[in-house]
């Protein structure tokens, strides 16, 4: 009978469904590039024998998933993604606090993420916003090279700059929040309004403008330096300059999910990643984030944060969701609705 | 399982319908009616399209559920049983032969369905094919057969299950005229030989007269009249039945008086004595069969008439006549001395071809 066979098929699939939760498993959601995530998962698995199930998702997707799973978490560890999103998750009671014994050796900025999130996440890597440009396109069009935020207002750049849309992109939010902390909110929005004349598009994705620069689709775009380093390694004519006025930066965090089903394994991973050896995995797969551990192997391709002028970024204040909503609404009202 | 030939004539009611009715939403296809079909007889459901005859057949088959009433087959209440659970078989108008199976698989299908092993089923199916004159055709695809052969396969497929009742839904409508005549005789012969109970739907009165033990004439979801072919032809109880069962002239006359079983009827200047069939005095409808009209020379004793059209048909001649009571259609056996249009004639009736019906 069809009903019977359908029923049996259904039951078979049901039995398929049980997640393989053998002893010593770890479920990880991972925000950075897939190669890096895979490298981390495999190394940890090789060293500890703990079976890692890893999925790569953007930090927005991870936050959405953690929210949806809140009543019944299936994730143990969340690796990567900006401190602000981790703080947002912490506000939503999605994370649990943990202080690793290995934390003491980290850079100050990494430990500061820990403090600002009430111990619920720890910085693992960092990157700063720079102004990227396409070397060849700039030469072809005889454009001067940008060196500061104010340079971007030059009339020659009309239609050559691409920015992400803060409604959908965390990178865009980081840029705007940085400008606000560099000057003040009024001046930052005034700047964005004037910059608007040179902007050809506000993209949905934060990495899209930088990729457009790499492929010569647009000349200039502010973007994170570590992603730019990867593109340059791949052979694209992309260069980066750090604005003289100062720039904002991001500290990528790592956290343990509240109600994690494998808390012991999660803590083990947490401790493991805060060692120099684990931090060397990134450069081995063409990922050039600044590691949180001073003991990690140095490489000229890793940007040196100490030579870049950074704003004093307050992750707690700008990670607050009310602040975020207010800034986004203002952006929508004052920038998003400007005529092209 | 015994061979189909041994099926003894059934007796008693093979099919009984009690207050059966079928509605589709607001449309009533069959109004509540009772019908009994005796075992071993061939009963025809006859009527114009849309009269409910096919619906009635499908109600017996179990392909439709009645809105009211009950169906008994071989004495058992089968109202709630599905088609497969009733011991009935059906020959479809389109034959509905399975195009992806060969002839033998088609005929054996029902046997295999009821759990018979394939070899046994095939042997029985071969026998059934032989019975319908298709021995050796078993391995052909149904699409390789002629229309008449397909028809026989459909009959064999239905017969092989030895059903209590065999149902035919306009089985001959897809065949040409000549084949239709021979097939209907074959069906009748088979039914008689095997003593089958058959319910047969058709809209062709000639076919109905030729094959039936009894005919049920239907109209607008009701039984207009049921009876033997002769009864229906000779004693229709309405103009509708009369005109449906062969050609009939319809004129209006008056019953002057009744006397015992007879009535004195006047029709213009014509006076006739006919069975009154319970009709009161006064206006009455008179049905006159065309072959009961006698035509003689002008000035005779009868209705004066004029020939409007004469059509030579080979075996006989058809006349359209104009009379004081209206136009008449007559069949005359004359083949040589035909009358021409415009001729004045006198018309009289053979009373055995004239019937009074309720107006």
């Amino acid at each position: 009978m069809v009903i019977r066979s359908l029923a049996i098929a259904g039951l078979l699939t049901l039995s398929l469904a049980s997640p393989a939760g053998a002893q010593g498993a770890l479920n990880m959601l991972c925000a950075p590039a897939a190669d890096w995530c895979e490298g981390i998962a495999t190394s940890f698995q090789r060293e500890t024998g703990i079976n890692v199930a890893m999925a790569r998702k953007s930090s927005g997707e991870i936050l959405a998933q953690l929210r949806a799973e809140a009543q019944n978490p299936r994730t143990d560890v969340w690796f990567g993604g900006s401190t602000e999103t981790h703080i947002t998750a912490a506000e939503g009671k999605l994370l649990q606090a943990y202080t690793s014994p290995n934390m003491a050796a980290l850079h100050t900025w990494a430990k500061r993420s820990h403090t600002q999130s009430d111990g619920q996440c720890v910085g693992v890597s960092s990157g700063a916003i720079g102004i990227t440009y396409n070397r060849e396109l700039m030469a072809r069009r005889n454009l001067p090279l940008p060196a500061s935020w104010l340079d971007l207002l030059r009339p020659e750049y009309r239609g050559e700059i691409q920015l992400p849309n803060p409604n959908s992109s965390g990178t865009a939010y980081t840029i705007i929040a940085g400008l606000i902390q560099l000057w003040d909110e009024e001046r930052a929005f005034d700047y964005l309004r004037r910059l608007h004349a040179n902007v050809n598009a506000y993209t949905r994705s934060g990495a899209a403008p930088m990729q457009a620069v790499a492929r010569g689709e647009t000349a200039i775009a502010p973007s994170f330096n570590m992603e730019t380093a990867s593109m340059r390694q791949a052979g694209f004519p992309i260069e980066i300059a750090y604005p003289e006025e100062g720039t904002s930066y991001e500290v990528a965090c790592m956290s343990i999910v509240r109600g994690a089903r494998n808390p012991a394994q999660a803590r083990r991973f947490y401790d493991w990643y805060l060692t120099p050896a684990a931090m060397d995995i990134g450069p081995s797969v063409n990922q050039w984030h600044v590691p949180a551990h001073p003991g990690a192997a140095p490489d000229p391709r890793i940007p040196d944060l100490s030579t870049i002028r950074l704003v004093d970024y307050d992750f707690a204040a700008f990670g607050n969701s009310a602040t975020r909503r207010r800034i986004l609404e203002r952006w929508d009202r004052e920038i998003g609705s400007l005529p092209r | 399982m015994t061979g189909p030939e041994t099926g003894a004539p059934n007796t008693g009611a093979a099919v009984r319908l009690e207050g059966i009715a079928k509605r589709y939403g607001a449309v009533t296809a069959v109004k509540p009616l009772d019908l009994t079909i005796l075992g071993g007889t061939l009963v025809t459901l006859l009527g114009p399209s849309g009269c409910g005859k096919t619906t009635l057949l499908r109600l017996i088959a179990g392909l439709e559920r009645p809105s009211a009433g009950r169906v008994f087959i071989a004495g058992q209440d089968v109202t709630r049983r599905s088609a497969g659970e009733r011991n009935v078989s059906m020959v479809f108008q389109s034959y509905a032969l399975f195009p992806h199976m060969d002839v033998l698989a088609n005929v054996a299908y029902g046997l295999v369905s009821s759990g018979l092993a394939k070899p046994a089923a095939h042997a029985t199916a071969e026998a059934a094919l032989e019975m319908v004159g298709l021995k050796g055709f078993g391995r052909r695809l149904t699409s390789e057969l002629s229309g008449g052969q397909q028809q026989r396969v459909a009959v064999a497929r239905a017969l092989v299950l030895e059903p209590d009742v065999l149902l035919f839904d306009e089985p001959l409508s897809n065949l040409d005229a000549r084949l239709r005549r021979s097939m209907r005789e074959e069906i009748r012969a088979l039914q008689q030989r095997l003593g089958l109970t058959v319910v047969y739907v058709t809209h062709d009165q000639g076919e109905a007269l030729a094959v039936s033990d009894r005919i049920v004439v239907m109209r607008d979801g009701e039984i207009a009249q049921a009876g033997t072919p002769e009864e229906l032809y000779m004693q229709p109880n309405s103009v509708f039945v009369a005109t449906f069962m062969g050609e009939a002239n319809h004129v209006r006359g008056t019953i002057e008086r009744t006397q015992d079983a007879q009535a004195i009827v006047t029709l213009d200047c014509l006076r006739m004595t006919l069975p009154h069939r319970g009709l009161p005095t006064g206006a009455v409808d008179i049905v006159v069969r065309p072959e009961a009209i006698r035509i003689s020379g002008p000035g005779g004793d009868g209705l004066a008439a004029r020939v409007e059209r004469a059509t030579y048909m080979g075996s006989h001649t058809e006349y359209h006549l104009a009379t004081a009571v209206g136009g008449l259609f007559a069949l005359a056996p004359e083949r040589l001395h035909r009358r021409a249009p415009g001729d004045a004639v006198t018309v009289t009736f053979d009373t055995d071809g004239v019937v009074l019906v309720r107006p």
């Binding site: 949806a68 609705s337 | 992806h100």
Partner: protein, 735 residues
């Protein structure tokens, strides 16, 4: 059949309730299920043992329902009595299971009023597993058996059971999640009340704004979506018609290739077309550089936004329009055109006055199908949209973007749903009014009239350049898989394939799947292989029910089935993760959620192809089988199914291909263990690793072609012994 007993299904329900673990087991089945009676861990115990040994009183009603059901399942004489017991037992059982599942969740009582009434529960439960599923299935069939015994569904147990399962599964896998996501609209925004939040979300200027009419700013996303869908539908229909006319009405020599070309985009993973277009028409693309070199014109970034998405969508959906229209054009009886030409009409007049009006319903249908496709499209806008937002991407970013506002996503989803439904209803109207196309094959003698010269020229003029462009886009895209850095370093290399599909041998001689793509590829193929036959089976059964059976609520069922198609993938994805992450049905992160998503998203395709094929099968064939004593199931398997082979192939192929290429829904549903190929690809695209993405896509295309061949081989052909014209499967997917 109705006379048979229902003991088997009673046993299913009973075993599910008594012997097997009720909840889903973390470690899978096996050792845990044996000890379900008497298990010390309540989560591993059967419902009976949880009630007896662990004081989980909420299982008593479920277990008690088995009693009346048993009385009804016993093969007694009295049908009326049996049916009453069966209906009572089945309905009570289902209600009890649903109620306890809803009421007792992972944090005790799920509803606050239960807590206020009875106090804290002090216990909790997770989602149902094998035991619960068996109990649900068992009770459901007992209920439908009871209904059949009462004479409903013509007393056919099989039909009753099939309808019951269909209704239950649509309810669980479509209506429930969609209602869940729509309920998110009511989540308050900050300090705003429910009504104010809803109003704020609904009346958002970003949705309805029309400022673009006055200034050069972006209009509301509603207008963007409408504009895009309308223009895509119009262009794709025109192109599809041109192709259909060329293929059916002209002596074009390479028809077969043209047909292949129009089918290719269907088996192409999303993004490939978008990426190919960027490479050709992007600012640094071949075309722009050429124009700049030749004419000194700078075309700039025109490909990003409306233009590019439109172009990509027309590429993607012209095949859909073509497949709908080829059936329509082929279906027009040449006799009509011949009649027209004998009445001294010129070829042009014949085409204008006869052929075109006859095609009108078909054209309208194609237009609406493409409209719905465009509405639901996610892959093209995300690659090429730039600042141009449409509903599908807007929903995506509302959930995963910086806003994280499920409520806004729900409002947008609601608008999208309303648009899709409107198009869907209009489409039903159009088709319902009757197409003039005859599929009977009667009186179709005569030759197709050749196209009038101007029409032929126009068709060629449109179709041939388009075909060339399609080839170009594909070549450009596929080349990307074989060069170092696409658009930059054209050194040939197989590196991308090596990275994705490397195989290594360990010293012991065991194959090691070292490539990064093996895992997702394996999962994708496995899940598509599981989902396709289920989709086809349910779809064809549903088609048969709709086409051949009449029962109360048939139209409603048909509508509900087709409705699942109108729900865009993004909405389904969000809805599934919200609905199935919590008990009673806790399948997030499992393979089931992906399979369910594939099955219920693609079900309408199976239904459509089944209905189309079934309407060409003489109804008396089934009736003949029924009269010959074949059970309904036997009728289906020996008569209907063999004659439906072409529809079966269509359903299987579509279900398989869609499962392999879908993105919008699964992007929310993949987990670490079950990652899908398309999600893997989009992650590479986002990361700028186009080479690997394209290489993977190329492998998927080859794989799908092989699978289509295999399906055709396995299903086989109908043997009718006559010239069997191609059954016009004018489904073309998403209608």
């Amino acid at each position: 059949m109705a006379a048979g007993s229902s003991l088997f299904f009673w046993l299913v329900a009973a075993i599910g309730g008594i012997a097997l673990p009720w909840h889903m087991q973390q470690a899978g089945l096996g050792k845990g299920s044996v000890g379900a009676l008497g298990a010390s861990n309540p989560e591993a115990a059967s419902a009976l043992w949880q009630a007896v040994g662990h004081g989980r009183f909420w299982f008593w009603p479920v277990l008690a329902s088995l009693l009346p059901a048993l009385l009804g399942a016993w093969p007694l004489k009295d049908r009326a009595l049996r049916s009453r017991f069966l209906i009572a037992g089945g309905a009570l059982g289902l209600a009890a299971i649903a109620l306890q599942g809803m009421a007792v969740g992972i944090r005790g009582w799920s509803w606050i009023w239960l807590t206020t009434l009875f106090g804290e529960l002090g216990d909790r439960q997770f989602g149902i597993g094998i035991g619960g599923a068996m109990a649900v299935a068992g009770f459901l069939v007992l209920l439908t058996d009871g209904l059949a015994l009462r004479g409903l569904f013509k007393g056919d147990r099989f039909v009753a059971g099939a309808v019951g399962l269909l209704v239950a599964s649509i309810t669980v896998f479509t209506f429930w999640p969609v209602l869940t996501v729509l309920a998110q609209m009511l989540i308050p925004l900050g300090e705003l009340g429910v009504a104010a939040s809803l109003a704020e979300r609904l009346l958002d200027r970003k949705i309805w704004g029309l400022a673009c009419l006055e200034f050069r700013v972006n209009c509301g996303v509603f207008w963007n979506t409408s504009l895009l869908a309308i223009s895509t539908a119009t262009l794709a229909t025109a192109l599809g018609l041109a192709f259909a006319l060329i293929v059916t009405r002209s002596g074009f020599p390479a028809k077969r290739w043209l047909r292949l070309l129009t089918v290719l985009p269907i088996i192409t993973p999303p993004f490939v077309i978008g990426l190919g277009l960027i490479l050709i028409f992007g600012r640094s693309g071949v075309f722009n550089r050429l124009v700049e070199a030749l004419f000194g014109l700078e075309l700039g970034r025109w490909i990003y936004g409306y233009n590019g998405v439109l172009l990509a969508q027309v590429f993607s959906f012209t095949p859909t329009a073509f497949l709908v229209l080829i059936g329509v054009v082929e279906g027009i009886s040449p006799a009509m055109e011949e009649a027209s030409s004998t009445l001294r009409a010129s070829p042009m007049r014949t085409f204008r006055a006869v052929s075109l009006p006859l095609m009108l319903p078909g054209l309208a249908n194609a237009w609406l199908v493409v409209f719905i496709e465009s509405l639901a499209d996610f892959g093209n806008p995300i690659v090429l949209g730039g600042a141009f937002g449409v509903l599908s991407t807007e929903i995506f970013f509302a959930v995963i973007g910086a806003q994280q506002d499920f409520g806004r996503a729900a409002v947008l989803a609601q608008i999208m749903l309303a648009m899709a439904l409107a198009a869907f209803l209009i489409q039903r109207r159009v088709i319902g009014r009757g197409s003039y196309v005859s599929l009977t094959g009667k009186g179709d003698g005569g030759l197709a009239t050749p196209l009038p010269k101007p029409v032929g020229r126009a068709a060629y003029g449109i179709a041939i350049p388009w075909a060339c462009l399609t080839i170009l886009v594909y070549v450009m895209a596929i080349v990307g898989a074989f060069v170092k850095v696409w658009g930059r370093d054209w050194t040939p290399t197989l590196d991308h394939f090596r990275r994705a599909f490397a195989l290594e041998w360990t010293p012991e001689g065991v194959i090691l799947f070292a490539g990064g793509a093996w895992h997702s590829l394996g999962t994708t193929v496995a899940l598509a292989t599981i989902a396709a036959p289920i989709t086809a089976a349910i779809g064809l059964t549903a088609a048969w029910l709709l086409q051949r059976q009449s029962f109360a609520g048939r139209t409603a069922l048909e509508f509900a089935l087709m409705l699942t198609f109108a729900v865009p993938g993004t909405v389904i994805g969000v809805a599934y993760i919200l609905t199935y992450n919590v008990p009673p049905l806790e399948i997030t992160g499992t393979a089931i959620i992906l399979i369910a998503c594939f099955v219920f998203r693609n079900l309408p395709v199976g239904v459509r192809s089944g209905v189309a094929a079934m309407s060409q099968l003489d109804r008396s064939l089934d009736e003949a089988a029924a009269m010959l004593g074949a059970s309904t199931f036997r009728t289906l398997s020996t008569v209907v199914l063999p004659l439906l082979k072409p529809a079966l192939v269509t359903a299987l192929v579509y279900a398989f291909v869609r499962a392999m290429t879908t993105v919008s829904a699964v992007i929310f549903l993949v987990s670490a263990e079950y990652e899908m190929a398309t999600v893997f690809i989009i992650n590479r695209v986002i990361n700028g690793d186009y080479g690997l993405a394209i290489a993977y896509s190329a492998v998927l295309i080859v794989l799908m072609m092989a699978a289509i061949g295999l399906i055709q081989l396995l299903v086989g052909r109908r043997n009718l012994g006559r010239r069997s014209g191609p059954i016009a499967l004018t489904v073309a997917g998403r209608a």
